[in-house]
């Protein structure tokens, strides 16, 4: 695998992640569709790549006092336990099966985001018509 394709894939994932949308949600299909990686490998890469990126963002955000530590504890404990269990489960599932389940997950996320976006533009338009008095 040529290194520049790997960097370009990372660039796209990072770009979307940096904008506050699901970076990993995009990086995994990029690696699977365009680079032909196995689904398990793409998922493992995404998890590992997230770590250095997250550490840098956390340092910057902490300096800007944007992190709410109160909300941290109760979410993290159950999440870590559940994630380990389901990571084991994913690793014991056949590659094509995992890929199909992931694809359905992606479509659900897409529809969810689409609904939110439509709701927001509807709200925006209403605000606009209120302002100009229609």
């Amino acid at each position: 695998m040529d290194w520049y394709w790997l960097i370009i894939s990372g660039l796209f994932g990072g770009l979307v992640g940096g904008m506050g949308m699901g970076g990993g949600t995009l990086l995994i299909p990029i690696l699977t569709i365009f680079l032909g990686f196995q689904q398990h490998l793409s998922q493992a890469i995404n998890l590992l790549v997230f770590i250095p990126t997250a550490i840098i963002s956390i340092i910057i955000h902490a300096k800007n006092k944007l992190i709410d530590y109160k909300a941290f504890f109760w979410l993290v404990i159950p999440a870590v336990v559940a994630s380990v269990g389901f990571a084991f489960l994913a690793n014991n599932i056949d590659n094509s099966m995992l890929k199909i389940i992931f694809a359905v997950f992606l479509i659900c996320i897409g529809i969810f985001e689409l609904i939110i976006a439509i709701k927001q533009s509807y709200k925006k338009r209403n605000n606009f018509t209120d302002k100009i008095g229609i």
Binding site: M21, D68, A82, A87
Partner: protein, 141 residues
Amino acid sequence: MARFLRGILSKKANNIFMSKQSLEKLKKTSIMLVAGVFIGIINGFFGGGGGMICVPVLLMMGLTNQKAHATAILIMLPISIASALVYYSHGIVDWNIVIWVALGSLIGGAVGAFILKKISNLTLQYIFAFVVIAAGIRMLF
């Protein structure tokens, strides 16, 4: 006596044992516990995407948009490390690939955070939604 018992059972009586504030706190804590399990399931099983659930949950908890995004990253870090260890233990990690993708991701992340202020958020959301749906359909076939 019967009146007293009925009083305990009724909703209003909860306030005898628990103030409204602590009841609210208990409610918040239980929502976070359930949401935490859900975030863990998604992130462990799909190797990502937990942040997309974490941000709305934090917004629901009353955090501002900026704080929710920042805090979500801190929450996702230990979860991702834990899941990554499981994937790593199954021997599917190739460090040569990880290093190059991580390099790209770091640059992309910095650029993304920088240009975020210059593009309409809503347009981006539409693009993201369509790209993700297209990718999902492509992966099904």
